[in-house]
């Protein structure tokens, strides 16, 4: 999960950068719950308001609503959310149109309204929806985010009406600016997204004045759709095609994290390339994005019973007598092997690797690659062993700016994701979880749950109980724990609030609560040594999201225009006129 990302300000000392998120807590009645209150009617989908796990500090009233959806991670709740969302969306559209008409006077040639509440009303609900998803970490990949943003802008432009006495060219740019401002508050825009917005603004400003509103909007919408097709989706296919020649029989390919482009390339090579190779997927905390990647590869036909010699030590393949298990037999053609490791095992697996394939978030003009944190480590380890590093990146992610180091302008994620070890909750077997899987509180089964699902409840008999995430019965929906599930709110804040909640002295009931809370804290602190890191001023937790890979680590870049070296990036930027 990434909260409204905090830019690392240059000039601040490294270890003084800190994000402390304060979830909004509510303690109601006998049940001590950690839940997030429903914020105002402007937020779509009350289902999205779930347990207080690591809410971002609101930079705007919107941020209040950008909470982590525990139950929304399962598909069932997601569908419910969509239904509700559509209802709300229609309501809001009507509201919005009314408001737009009411606010006419303010827009007459004046500066863009920076009042947050006014901004809220101008933001299109589709934009809001994807913004919240980006903040919650549901949409993570840079390509996906760009496509989501552009499609949301298509809808925003569809519903847009030019206020009288304004010119479409100028006003629409402001309107688009408001949408992207909202998205920026949820999560900083990627380089690709910024490029796309700049392209769109450019296109809007060049619309001929002779066109009427409807035609202009149609032109813009079709232009955006073409942009998505030409710059984002088609290049993926082209890259997969171009990269096919790079995967040879017997290759051991290492990749990091989850890149949709790389996935497409690997799947294509497996299916059409007539090669048998092995993939090693390297993953890192706290998001464990590679798990979903591995799952999709497995569904595409990768399995470990293919070529997996060397590391597995199944016995000599020459000595057929010892090989009694089926694992020793090579699988049918078209099947390739797959391995999954954590990034700290990189030193161990690097020995076997023949090529490294990486995905990219952006490329800077000096050839530096901006990627997920850990990409540079993979490239470094490959470089020292003279293993070629191949990066797949579409040209819309190239930029002519330059970044010098990984620290300035980096995005910081929620530090609590690092604090909590994932083992506790995840290792509870499915059956034991059954009692926690209902949406009803343990204490009072008849109590109607109208508010958000509690994250933790206190039962006099059983003590504290965490609510496990809801597992969908459908196998395909059962992903590994998404990172925000592993986030549990710092209990120190819970006890803090119990102080504040007591108006007029401590009630014994609250004292009991505090006692219980402190006991729970002790048990949890044993498992997670950093659980009370807020209390120590000198202890910081830095969750860096991105890092820079220097150009000398990269051998070649696969783009839709072919295979280029890192030195060609400024040329491409100039020629394509991004």
């Amino acid at each position: 999960m990434t909260e409204s990302g905090r830019r690392y300000e240059p000039g601040a000392s490294l270890v003084s950068v800190l994000t402390r998120s304060m979830p909004h807590l509510a303690i109601t009645g006998d049940n001590v719950e950690i839940s997030v209150p429903n914020s105002g009617a402007s937020t779509p989908g009350p289902n999205m308001v779930g347990g207080g796990g690591a809410t971002p500090r609101p930079a705007s009233p919107i941020g209040n609503a950008a909470t982590i959806a525990l139950s929304a991670s399962s598909s069932m709740a997601g569908r419910q959310h969509q239904h509700q969302h559509q209802h709300q969306q229609q309501q809001q559209q009507q509201q919005q149109q009314q408001q737009q008409q009411q606010q006419k006077p303010q827009h007459r040639g004046g500066p863009v309204n920076s009042d947050p509440s006014a901004t809220v009303q101008q933001v299109h609900p589709h934009v809001k929806a994807i913004g919240l998803r980006m903040a919650a970490g549901t949409i993570v990949s840079s390509d996906a985010r760009t496509i989501a943003m552009m499609m949301a802008l298509v809808d925003a432009i569809k519903d847009y009406k030019v206020p009288p006495n304004t010119i479409l060219n100028r006003h629409l740019i402001k309107y688009i600016g408001e949408q992207t401002n909202y998205l920026r508050q949820q999560r900083p825009l990627t380089v690709g997204m910024s490029n796309a917005v700049r392209w769109l603004n450019d296109k809007v400003s060049k619309i001929e004045a002779t066109l009427d509103e409807k035609e202009a909007k149609m032109e813009l919408i079709s232009g955006i759709r073409d942009y998505i097709k030409e710059r984002i989706t088609t290049p993926r296919e082209a890259i997969a095609e171009a990269g096919l020649s790079k995967i040879q029989d017997g290759d051991v390919i290492l990749t990091f994290g989850a890149s949709g482009t790389i996935r497409r390339l690997l799947v294509k090579a497996n299916r059409e390339g007539n090669v048998r190779f092995r993939v090693i997927v390297v993953d890192a905390r706290p998001h464990w994005e590679g798990r979903q990647f591995v799952r999709s590869l497995v569904e595409a036909g990768f399995t470990k019973n293919a070529i997996n010699d060397g590391l597995c030590n199944f016995g000599d393949e020459d000595d057929g007598d010892n090989c009694s298990s089926t694992e020793c037999e090579p699988a049918a053609t078209g099947c390739s092997g797959i391995t999954y490791v954590a990034i700290s095992a990189l030193g161990y697996v690097m020995k076997d690797v023949s090529k490294v394939l990486l995905g990219a978030e952006a490329f800077f003009a000096n050839g530096t690659l901006l990627g997920k944190a850990g990409t540079s480590l993979v490239a470094l380890m490959a470089r020292t062993r003279r293993i070629p590093v191949i990066v797949a990146c579409s040209t819309y992610k190239f930029t002519e700016t330059v970044r010098l180091d990984s620290v300035v302008d980096n995005e910081l994620g929620n530090p609590d994701e690092l604090v909590w070890k994932p083992g506790q909750l995840d290792s509870i077997p499915y059956e034991q979880n059954a009692q926690y899987r209902s949406n009803v509180s343990l204490v009072d089964p008849q109590q109607q749950r109208s508010g958000p699902e509690p994250f933790m409840t206190f039962n006099a008999n059983q003590g504290w109980a965490f609510h496990a995430m809801n597992y969908s019965p459908l196998a395909t929906d059962r992903f590994s724990a998404l990172p925000h599930i592993n986030n549990k709110p710092p209990l120190r804040l819970l006890s803090q609030d119990s102080h504040e909640g007591g108006k007029g002295g401590k009630v014994p009931h609250q004292q009991r609560q505090q006692q219980v809370v402190s006991e729970a804290m002790k048990a949890i602190a044993k498992q997670n040594p950093l659980a009370q890191w807020h209390e120590h001023k000198s202890l910081k937790v830095l969750n860096l999201i991105q890092d820079l890979t220097p150009a000398e680590f990269i051998s070649v870049i696969i783009t839709e225009i072919g295979l280029i070296p890192t030195t060609s990036i400024p040329v491409v930027v100039r020629e394509y006129g991004i």
């Binding site: 797959i338 095992a345 540079s376 470094l380 380890m381 083992g423 290792s427 860096l544 890092d547």
Partner: protein, 348 residues
């Protein structure tokens, strides 16, 4: 007998090299003591023979140093170090010299007396060896400051950590913890700790370093290279040190060391003498342990596990080219000096 125990221990846990080290050290100590005593006896014999020869041949020969001593110190307990003996033999009080001298005239050493003397010496040496394990690093560090000052080779945390430095460490080694705690007494610095998933030893280290007046930052493993440009020194602990200077260190150490090499950050390895192993690693992976994959891919994703190979090594191999100095209780050594340490302590 010691060999037998050593073999049993080794068969139980082949990758625990410290067991091998300790057993070999003990064997070496026994050999050493035995040889020393034997040598002294032989010296005694030689001295006596030479004395007799000189008395016979007259006094025209130039007097050797040890001759004078033998002449003047006949029957005394102390013996100067023989220039032929290995230079690190510490002169010990030899209670048995007299008996050795007594029997030297016969030219045959009494085995019984030899054993008793050797046993005494071995016990003493073993006690010293055991102290090595219990040694409070702070004491040895402080001693190091005063003893080695004249050699201008002061060891210890104060030498390797300056004020306002940013240190990166890896793993939850007790040695490193003590090292940093000692340094914190006089220096103010910051520590960056990668958390070391999937075992999270970084969390334990961070907790241990609280309340020392240091700024501690915990980062995910993936951010190691991103932050290495800000780091001044890397201080890591290790599980074992191989004969070529390579480390078998907690997982993540190779990432840290490789990143440090790229940014030219010095890498300091805090070890103890018993961790130096006389074994060469011919395969990077031979002394590694693969543990349960649950911490990487949890068992609740069981349907994935039958299709995906998950590798979870516990240790990391760090090559000798990535390390700048080994610091142990006797001081700092470069990796190229290891052969010397091994020669002194093992039967090589």
């Amino acid at each position: 007998m010691v060999r037998y125990i050593g073999e049993r221990l080794f068969n139980a846990q082949p990758t625990e090299l410290i067991l091998v080290n300790v057993v070999n050290r003990i064997i070496h100590i026994i050999y050493e003591e035995h040889n020393r005593v034997k040598q002294q006896q032989q010296q005694q014999q030689q001295q006596q023979q030479q004395q007799q020869r000189r008395l016979v041949e007259g006094l025209h020969y130039p007097s050797y140093r040890f001759d004078d001593h033998a002449a003047t110190a006949s029957g005394t307990a102390q013996l100067q170090p023989d220039p032929q003996a290995s230079p690190d033999n510490v002169p010990r009080e030899e209670g048995g010299t007299e008996t050795g001298g007594g029997t030297a005239a016969e030219g045959v050493s009494s085995d019984y007396d030899l054993t008793a003397e050797v046993k005494e010496n071995v016990t003493e040496a073993l006690n010293e060896f055991i102290d090595e394990f219990d040694a409070d690093y702070t004491d040895s560090c402080d001693q190091g400051m005063s003893i080695n000052d004249d050699k201008s080779n002061a060891m210890g945390p104060f030498k390797y950590i300056h004020s306002n430095e940013v240190i990166m460490t890896c793993g939850s080694s007790k040695t490193v913890e003590r090292f940093l705690k000692t340094a914190a007494k006089k220096r103010v610095f910051s520590v960056i700790i990668p958390e070391g998933a999937p075992f999270y030893h970084g969390h334990n280290m961070a907790k241990a370093l609280l309340n020392l007046g240091l700024e501690v930052a915990v980062i995910p493993d993936s951010a190691i290279l991103a932050l290495m440009s800000q780091v001044n020194k890397v201080i890591i602990g290790t599980h074992t040190v191989m004969a070529n200077g390579a480390l078998i260190a907690p997982n993540g150490s190779q990432l840290v060391a490789a990143a440090a090499k790229h940014h030219s950050v010095p890498v300091v390895v805090c070890t103890e003498l018993y961790k130096f192993s006389p074994i060469f690693p011919f395969d990077e992976r031979s002394f590694n342990i693969l543990v349960s994959p649950d911490s990487v891919l949890p068992y609740k994703d069981g349907d994935l596990m039958k299709n995906v190979e998950v590798i979870n090594p516990y240790y990391d191999y760090v090559g000798p080219e990535l390390i700048d100095v080994f610091v142990d209780q006797t001081g700092g050594h470069p990796p190229s000096y290891l052969y010397r340490l091994l020669q002194e302590n093992y039967n090589t």
